[in-house]
Amino acid sequence: MFDPVLPVAVGRLDARGRLIEAEARLLELNERAGGNVGAPLAVPQIATIARLAQRLGIAISRNVIAADGEEDLDLWVRAQPEEGAVRIEVSGWRPRPAWQPPAAEPGRDGDFLRSAADWMWETDASLRITFLSIEAGARCGFDSSAMLGQPLTRLLSLAQDEQGNLPILTAVAAQARFDGQKAEIRGTGRMVRLEATPRTDAAGRFAGFVGAAHMLDPPAHPPAIEVPLPLPEAPFGGFPDSFSQRLDRALRGPLGRIIANADSISAQSEGPLKPDYAGYAADIANAGRHLLGLVDDLVDLQAIERPDFATVPEAIDLADVARRAAGLLAVRAAQSNVRIDKPALDEQLPVTGEFRRALQVLVNLIGNAVRYSPPGGMVWIRLERDGAMGCVIIADQGKGIATEDQERIFEKFGRVDPDEQGGSGLGLYIARLLARAMGGDLLVDSAPGMGARFVFMLPCRD
């Protein structure tokens, strides 16, 4: 979620809250806020923590957001009373977007993980298990109760990924969410896929994982249930498939209403309003649209991740699909002052794939390209044949994607910049799954500063 190595700026306040000394970063922040050495600290959030630490006589750590000019800064502040003074350490120093997708809270992440998991687990910072779904053991052939308190590696034998890394350890180092850690439940020969989100303490330190496990193989013998009569309806749950339907039904309507109302407040269609309230309403509408996009993605994901998911092999013209996708995004591109250079009307590239799904992939790719293009930029769509594959190449003039991030963007919830607004982190994951389900693939090549190039390929039809 943030840099593993946080730049720390140290400062000292006297007993009356006046700044005695501070390192450059903190000093500058304080000066921009109108403060000075010898005067009370001018950043109120930090001053409050320092005062509390002094009054209570204990070290206090908190995550605060402080305004710095036009920007909001995300800071980790620790205040420690020392004879007649308070020592403060400020780290983090990350600019914060005006609005963040509401996924930062571990509790909510937990709900999210829970929605699809076979069982749940949690660890402390030393990766010892602090919680396990108790019935998971019986279902998967291990003794849950004997595993509690044990290192996670006692329950699971972790497998390296293609690059020879353990995703879970990389995630500990970066305090980041991970997905796709494969592991064997020791002694059972059964494989699971782990995903988890980190917990962070008030000082910004790693405090453990909240995670989910997905079984990768069906149980050898489905548990026999001896039931004389149809059992009473289960009060909770239901079939996994119905989850997406319920999610869809339960969220789409209310979200639609929230967005519509917030939009009309923001447009002040019912009469004039204080500008900041109109601004808040616009934020609400944007947040709602983000959530609606997430619902779409999740519903889609539920279908695509099923083992029996298949696409319809249709004879399609990739050039035509690309032109249509570009057409769909023309308005958004114009709003962002980005031009889309789409294939000429006479170009053709006959391939096999499902029209609807190919369009979905291209809309996602071109949409991303438009989003990351600088104003006045250009998005190129080119067609190519590469052996038995027909390729569409989408290139933009955005900031590009560093080599080490190029696989991450295809992971579930994978993002290069976790603070970035909008998007669910599912789009490219879904797009690649779709491309592969149609017998093709989705690749990226890009270098930072050079723009991103995505190649979407489908088998040629001769």
Binding site: I58, A125, F236, R249
Partner: protein, 371 residues
């Protein structure tokens, strides 16, 4: 949430007769609704449930009744099927009016002991998850309970393990709800089981002549459910046994209390406190959950805790609970530190009395005020 407001009962929209009847009843209902709204408006803000607590309480209550209901119904159905009463079994198995709604309508769920327990449970859980986490300075160092799981003393290790198991069981799996136990104190569980059995009977009254068969199956199922229940399996009981096994020395207690809060183990925190003070879990929980925590500060002082751990505990609780005010805690802290341990113990004496005795004294005092 339906976009389609037409009520499609059994595929037919409501008939004219029903509409007329409903319109006639509307005035009475509107009046009744207004009375509830007025009463609601004038309720004192002190002690009112906030929306989150209210929603969590409703969910917990429903889950509690439904898990008891499922157990009794399932076993009752099995018994009846075994006795060849298939039709009766089907009647019992058929879903009808929810037992929660029925018991609530009858006013039974307003039982003060039950509601005290459930409200405390909900508040305890809300406080627990909101506590600021505190990672150890050494990332390799396991959290509090996990260290005890590794302890060479088998009693300590197994009681620590029991806490982890009880907590995992209480929190349930991805499809939580069906497996979690009711986890009420035995007396309350007992009451609830019979209430639910009676509600199930009422729902199946259509059985007519075969009622005696149904009665015997339901009461047998209820008794089985009671026999299988062990209140010693509850998380709170496991945590108390853990605290007793540690039996912390005064100088160890402060660190354990602070660390248990930093691990979000509120139940362990309360159990450690209860054991150290020689109080029941419920009484200690009452001290901890009370947002005006004066009795808690006295309790900590009566254990001769130094200023720093009391400040850390107070800070953590204030951060976790929006009803607590950090500034006023800081004011209280200095005052609390001037109270010595013996004084604090004397002031806490009333809390140590038998809970029923305390309740009786409070009831008398209340009645005096009403006269």
């Amino acid at each position: 949430m339906s976009d389609n407001p037409v009520d499609m009962r059994d595929g037919a929209t409501i008939g004219a007769k029903e509409l007329l009847a409903r319109a006639a009843a509307a005035e009475t209902r509107a009046q009744a609704g207004l009375r509830v709204a007025i009463r609601d408006f004038f309720l004192s803000e002190d002690g009112r449930l906030d929306e989150r607590t209210r929603a969590a309480l409703a969910a917990l209550l429903r889950q509690l009744v439904e898990s008891v209901e499922a157990e009794i119904r399932e076993h009752g159905v099995r018994l009846l099927t075994g006795r060849g009463e298939n039709a009766l079994a089907a009647t019992l198995a058929a879903s009808g009016l929810s037992a929660t709604d029925r018991l609530a309508r009858a006013g039974l769920l307003r039982d003060p002991a039950l509601m005290t327990e459930l409200i405390a449970r909900v508040r305890q859980e809300a406080l627990g998850v909101a506590l600021p986490m505190q990672a150890a300075d050494d990332p390799e160092r396991p959290s509090l309970i996990n260290r005890f799981v590794q302890h060479p003393d088998r009693l300590l290790a197994s009681s620590a393990m029991a806490v982890l198991i009880a907590e995992s069981r209480r929190r349930g799996g991805p499809d939580a709800g069906q497996f979690t136990q009711a986890e009420l104190p035995a007396e309350l569980h007992h009451r609830l089981v019979w209430w639910v059995a009676a509600a199930l009977r009422e729902r199946s009254l259509a059985a007519g002549d075969s009622l005696p068969l149904l009665d015997s199956a339901l009461s047998e199922a209820a008794q089985r459910s009671l026999a299988a229940y062990d209140e010693g399996d509850r998380l709170e009981a496991a945590a108390l046994r853990f605290a007793a096994a540690i039996d912390a020395r005064p100088h160890e207690l402060a660190d354990l209390l602070v660390e248990s809060l930093g691990d979000q183990r509120i139940v362990v925190f309360i159990a450690l406190l209860a054991h150290a003070l020689g109080l029941s879990y419920e009484t200690a929980r009452e001290l901890v959950l009370d947002p005006a925590a004066d009795r808690l500060w006295l309790a900590l002082r009566s254990l001769d805790l130094p200023r720093e751990p009391i400040a850390q505990i107070g800070y953590a609780l204030c951060e976790a609970d929006p009803h607590r005010d950090l500034e006023s805690f800081a004011d209280t802290l200095d005052a609390a530190m001037t109270v010595d341990a013996a004084e604090a113990r004397a002031a806490l004496e009333p809390v140590r009395l038998h809970p029923d005795y305390r309740a009786a004294m409070l009831a008398l005092r209340r009645s005096e005020r009403l006269e």
